[in-house]
Symmetry: C2
């Protein structure tokens, strides 16, 4: 079963790899080789799909200086259609809905092939921002214009730690059409388990089936990348920070830690009967961190395939 | 090596079982059989020592109603000398120092056999309480009157989650003579790892050796017991609460969870080179929870002995 049929059936067990499109400032003549190098890296992995992020300037949500400067990136849907045609598995295209006019979004939704494309809609980064289209508007547009296009939403375990209602937000998103959820990078295993558990029992109480939750993992090879993860709102426990800071090989330590966290979470989801997927990304553009994330994807794919119940 | 020589050498790898002495209201003629039943339960375990708690009325530290009513218990040192003479391994006798006059405490300290007795001194439950003897006074008394009597202190991972300085408190207690630490019941693995990690790297930065941290585990078979753990200040993650609430056999679920947490923490301490001990208690007086804690001690002792590096 491919990604879209699995998600349509409410099933998990899939593995994705997430890419941020190149910066808009990248010379156009370099884009084909960047895309080819990416496809080449991922070709030997047994992936079920790609994720393409849509990066918005999120400086409004965090008053602290961004550890890596923001630079606008190419539209993920344009990047895919122009440079990633070789990739034939489904692609989850993110839409930072606050960036678009209503007509643009409507045209994009209508034009998609629901067998090849899924979308995750993300609201504006800060509630202080006034966007032309709200997340609720965008979700309603999809229901109206293209109800077969599979819709996902973001799930944030860290928000559950602070407000204890993220499971209710997920259920509200399900009511708005979401058929899967994707988390931020998971470092806080406890927070992720709390969210999965509360979500699962709330679904049961309402007589609903849980939909797949896709957990994101990444290798982190430097304190600068860790600082960036924190800036993005990821809770990195002190002991993991200490491990990385004192490791002879931080990238290997991070890989080991991500695998241990993923394996624990997979066991937990299986025990609770919550469908899950995995999503691997590199949050940095350093070559060695990208390669470590590819290695992470290889190991986690092997684990998911071998241990499938 | 027995418990006292291990701790004197800064080594871990030991397993203790903790008992709260019977209530003062217990008819005196029942005490011998209660003590015998306890010894009988523990005799087949390969324990390195007993812990005897000294219970103070802690209602001052928590304005919420205590889920199990407070009832004064027999002095642990008296209980030991009168009813637990059959027990020949060392005993860690708690002293809630706020309960005693200076002379009482001095006399007790002086009278102990340092080969058979260790002590953990605990300060008053709330800083609003004025006690005749402060924790610092009591620690100083031991240094002065009986420096060979091994002293322990409490370590609270939950406090580290909130204030991020528990590792510094441990080091200050080490400077006041502590040679080991005992935690509350551990349910929040992440909090325990954060404390161990910060403590280990702070010791390294100061050129000190870490002393054994004794992690306490318990079986919890009911929501009432869980509520009591929370009242005592133990952070029980939501997913563990949900597991117990929905389990067909909550006691077995709790046992499985405690073993998984202990095994993870043991691996973590070994990897970081922090000496550790285990302490198993029953926080409730229900027979089945006591028996489950004995079973927990049996399984964890086997694990520690078999997997010793």
């Amino acid at each position: 079963m491919n990604l879209t049929s699995r998600i349509s059936a409410g099933q998990g067990g899939f593995v994705l790899f997430a890419i941020t499109p190149p910066r808009q400032s990248t010379p156009a003549e370099q884009l084909p080789e960047i895309a080819d190098a990416t496809i080449e890296r991922l070709r030997h992995l047994d992936l079920d799909g790609l994720v393409l992020y849509d990066i918005d300037d999120e400086s409004s949500r965090n008053p602290n200086e961004r550890p890596f400067p923001f630079s606008p990136t190419i539209d993920p849907s344009d990047y895919r259609s122009e440079y990633l045609q070789q990739w034939d598995a489904p692609v989850v295209v993110y839409r930072a809905v606050g960036k678009y006019q209503r007509e643009e979004l409507a045209a994009w939704l209508t034009a998609q092939d629901a067998d090849r494309t899924l979308t995750v809609m993300v609201g504006a980064a800060s509630s202080g921002t006034v966007a032309p289209v709200s997340l609720a508007d965008a979700q309603a547009l999809r229901s109206e214009l293209h109800p077969n296009l599979l819709l996902g939403g973001v799930a944030i375990p860290e928000r559950h730690s602070r407000r204890e209602n993220e499971h209710l937000r997920l259920i509200a998103k399900q009511e708005a059409g979401c058929r899967f959820f994707v988390t931020q990078v998971v470092y806080d295993l406890n927070a992720a388990k709390n969210l999965v558990s509360d979500y699962r029992y709330e679904c049961e109480a309402r007589g609903q089936n849980p939909v797949p939750i896709v957990f994101t993992f990444s290798a982190c090879g430097s304190m600068k990348t860790l600082e960036f993860l924190r800036w993005l709102g990821v809770d990195v426990p002190r002991w993991i920070e200490n491990d990385l800071r004192h490791a002879t090989n931080p990238l290997q330590a991070s890989l080991d830690q991500a695998i241990a966290t993923a394996v624990d979470l997979i066991d937990f989801c299986r025990r609770l009967g919550v469908p899950f997927g995995l999503n691997i990304e590199s949050v940095s553009i350093r070559r060695e961190e990208i390669e470590a994330s590819v290695e992470l994807a290889a190991q986690l794919t092997a684990h998911v395939r071998s241990a499938a119940p």
